[in-house]
């Protein structure tokens, strides 16, 4: 003989399944709810010689109609007619779980509350006033630890008593103000109509703007006049804010119930995140802290990547080059092939590959910062500064992304709803030193500033940000006037970075760098090599080659900046398809010339540059025309050729101008 139906309702991870298993043992059946893929678990148990059906409803946070799980649970509670609902609440997370309870109370269903996992809550020194909790919810509350079977028998007894209880059920949550008035008005419309659902709940759902309830009423035999009245209500009287008021009232109720019935440890817990954030997000210390962190990143990059691993990689490439050369000579390969492989591939592409250790360490450290949750703080502390330059903090996010590669940095501006912010951010992002510029800086730093490598690298990155901010201010005052829109940034708690995330981030960047060296840069180097050895009637790599002729034509432009040889000029232009090609081209042209004397690129750079010209060259590289991919994405994002053209010209002009200023002032001050 069946004596009642019991439904188990609770949030995901509230221990509902443990409860179901404890109640039904092996006497259960698993299937699907009709028409949906949501799992339906049913079972039976016998208590004092009477059999009871149990249905385990899907784990849900609320009884809206926003997911299949919610619809299944709601429909079953409304139409499956359970005699009692056991609402399983995670004792350690009571406020959140009570939100669902408030909705069950609105349905005026008979409830028994299982305050589950109380042992875990007690470990966290959380105590409960069960009497108060029960009084405020108008339902019995039993502490349980379902997976250990603790409290399960008491719950069964309470549920069976509730089945036999015939007293009326009151909803302790009472709405106020305009919402209350609307609910009462709707109850008036609905009453005396033999609705299949509780009147108060139906009225609340209509005022809440739940269109699903209208469909449900249309599907059952309800007076057409009611349906018309509800439709008219939706059309003329409802308001978006009613939904917010209702949801907010539920939260307020849940909070109040918890406030009066849960006793938590009194002392305020100051987390590690709080302590760290006091410094890192401080109005005055935030930006200097960011600068110090980045300086440490660059110092470590140089110390580990360049000094420790870089020399090993360079030695390996050189060794491979020598072996290949011996092999090619031994097999009597034609001269052009030897020249191509040794001068083009080894000295060109190899010169870039040498910087893999440096890139690896840099992205390892940046990945560490990203995964720790710090980057959000960096963007946050920059928000205020960015605003002073007429931008929003989100521009800094694009700039941070631009440190890796300018293309996604520019694409990330899509989230900006202000066209002004978007255009300015797009135009300044190329001043961020992307990963491709790193090999160029590294060669020059290794040649002239190796003692202060990290500091010089940091200064270049910082100078890029500085120029970007100045340009933002200028563009804001001239081309793009107007206010910046603002946004809300999520500051996640700090966490210890996971090795998987950090290593994946590093590998994605390093493998991208290697792939690029083997494809785009390889292609650029082949073209450069061909231009450097043609026509065959002139000496290869000389100023009379095609490349030499182009370079000789361009060189005077750069003379005021101190680096006016044809090789240095064409290398800059080779960097427009891909920045790494600057190093590749210099490697091919300089190291190629001296290869027989065993002079590697760094030594060749020392012979052709001075510390001052190296500095002005690095500044030119930092600021001048971005790579073709960046220009392409600007064309795509702005749907015009005008903006990439403007970007190409104005960045070149700024790069040239600043490089000239640096060189001329340096010369005047007596630097060489």
């Amino acid at each position: 003989m069946k004596n009642g139906k019991i439904a188990l309702v609770g949030n995901p991870n509230s221990g509902k399944t443990s409860f179901f298993n404890a109640l039904t043992g092996s006497n259960q059946h698993v299937g699907n709810w009709p028409g949906v893929t949501v799992e339906k678990k049913e079972g039976k148990f016998i208590y004092k010689d009477k059999e009871y059906d149990v249905v385990d409803l899907p784990g849900i946070y609320s009884l809206g109609a926003f997911s299949e799980d919610e619809v299944v649970a709601r429909d079953y509670i409304l139409t499956g007619d359970p005699d009692v609902i056991i609402n399983i609440i995670d004792a350690g997370n009571i406020e959140r779980n009570l939100y669902l309870t408030t909705q069950l109370l609105e349905m005026k269903k008979r409830l028994v509350i299982a305050l589950n996992m109380v042992d875990e809550a007690e470990k966290r020194k959380i105590k409960f006033d069960l009497g108060e909790l029960s009084k405020r919810l108008g339902a019995p509350v039993i502490p349980t630890v379902a997976h250990k079977g603790i409290g399960v028998e008491e719950i069964v007894e309470a549920a069976i008593n509730a089945i036999d209880d015939k007293t009326s059920i009151e909803n302790p949550l009472i709405y106020s103000g305009v919402v209350k008035h609307h609910i009462e008005h709707m109850e008036e419309i609905l009453k005396n109509n033999n609705l299949p659902y509780p009147i108060e709940w139906t009225a609340i759902k209509i005022v809440e703007g739940d269109l699903n309830i209208l469909k449900k009423l249309e599907g059952v035999n309800v007076d057409k006049k009611i349906i018309e009245d509800i439709k008219e209500y939706y059309k003329y009287h409802t308001s978006d804010s009613f939904e917010l008021e209702i949801v907010d009232s539920r939260y307020a109720f849940a909070h109040k119930v918890a406030e009066y019935s849960v006793i938590r440890p009194l002392e305020e817990v100051i987390t590690l995140t709080d302590k760290i954030d006091k410094i890192l997000t401080n109005k005055y210390l935030g930006v200097p802290a960011f600068a110090i962190i980045m300086l440490i990143v660059f110092q470590l990059t140089f110390a580990i990547g360049e000094k420790l691993l870089g020399s090993f990689a360079a030695g390996s490439i050189e060794g491979l080059g020598r072996l290949l050369e011996i092999f090619l000579i031994k097999i009597k390969a034609p001269g052009w092939l030897v020249s191509f492989i040794i001068d083009g591939v080894i000295n060109g592409v190899g010169a870039i590959i040498e910087f893999v250790p440096l890139i690896t360490v840099l992205y390892l450290l940046l990945g560490f910062l990203e995964d720790s949750g710090y980057m959000a703080r960096a963007a946050y502390v920059w928000d205020d500064l960015m605003r002073r330059f007429g931008l929003q903090g989100k521009a800094f996010i694009s700039m941070i992304i631009g440190f890796g590669c300018n293309v996604p940095g520019i694409m990330s501006t899509r989230t900006m709803d202000s066209k002004k912010d978007r255009m300015i951010t797009m135009l300044i992002t190329p001043f961020m030193s992307c990963g491709a510029k790193l090999p160029i800086y590294s060669v020059f730093i290794a040649a002239f500033f190796s003692k202060h490598g990290g500091l010089v690298l940091f200064s270049l990155y910082a100078f890029g940000i500085f120029v970007a901010l100045i340009m933002a201010k200028l563009l804001n005052k001239t081309l793009f006037k107007g206010d910046s829109s603002y946004f809300i940034m999520e500051l996640p708690p700090y966490r210890i970075p996971t090795a998987t995330n950090v290593l994946r981030n590093m590998w994605d960047n390093v493998s991208g760098f290697i792939k690029k060296a083997g494809t785009i840069i390889f292609l650029v180097i082949i073209i450069m090599w061909m231009l450097a050895v043609l026509p065959t009637s002139v000496e290869p790599y000389s100023q009379y080659s095609i490349l030499g002729t182009i370079g000789t034509f361009l060189a005077p432009i750069f003379r005021p900046a101190g680096f006016g040889t044809w090789q240095e000029s064409v290398a800059l232009f080779a960097g427009i398809p891909a920045k790494e090609a600057v190093v590749g081209t210099l490697g091919m042209l300089y190291a190629g010339q001296y290869i027989e004397e065993g002079v590697i690129l760094v030594n060749a750079i020392r012979q052709h540059f001075t510390p001052l010209t190296a500095l002005s060259y690095m500044i030119m590289v930092l600021l001048y025309t971005p790579c073709a991919a960046t220009l392409g994405i600007v064309a795509k994002e702005t749907r015009s050729t005008k903006w990439p053209l403007i970007m190409a010209i104005y960045t070149f002009a700024i790069g040239w101008f600043v490089a000239v200023i640096v060189y001329q002032i340096g010369s005047l001050l007596g630097f060489s």
Binding site: N93, M375, G512
Partner: protein
């Protein structure tokens, strides 16, 4: 609580669940749920910083580094601004 969440994030211009939890004296889980409800009801919208590239991502050597969401950002909608004005 939802109105207060809106008000605080509008004032601070950042969303920190632990900080909101402390300021509003409610559990982090409830704040988390509140943010979800505000999103669902359209008072705030989540913006994706990692935009997908509809061009030739597969050929790009850095395609894997592109769609990362380094920082989560939100925006208060007009509807949300309307509520803030009434608080």
């Amino acid at each position: 609580m939802l109105k207060e969440i809106l008000k605080v994030i509008d004032r601070d211009r950042f969303l920190s669940i632990p900080m909101l939890s402390k300021e509003l004296k409610v559990s982090e889980a409830l704040i988390d749920e509140g943010i979800f409800e505000l999103l669902r009801m359209g008072y705030i919208i989540k913006e994706e910083t990692g935009e997908s590239c509809s061009t030739v991502c597969a050929r790009c050597p850095f395609a894997k580094t592109c769609n990362k969401e380094i920082i989560k950002t939100y925006r208060i909608t007009e509807k949300g601004q309307g509520i803030i004005r009434t608080v």
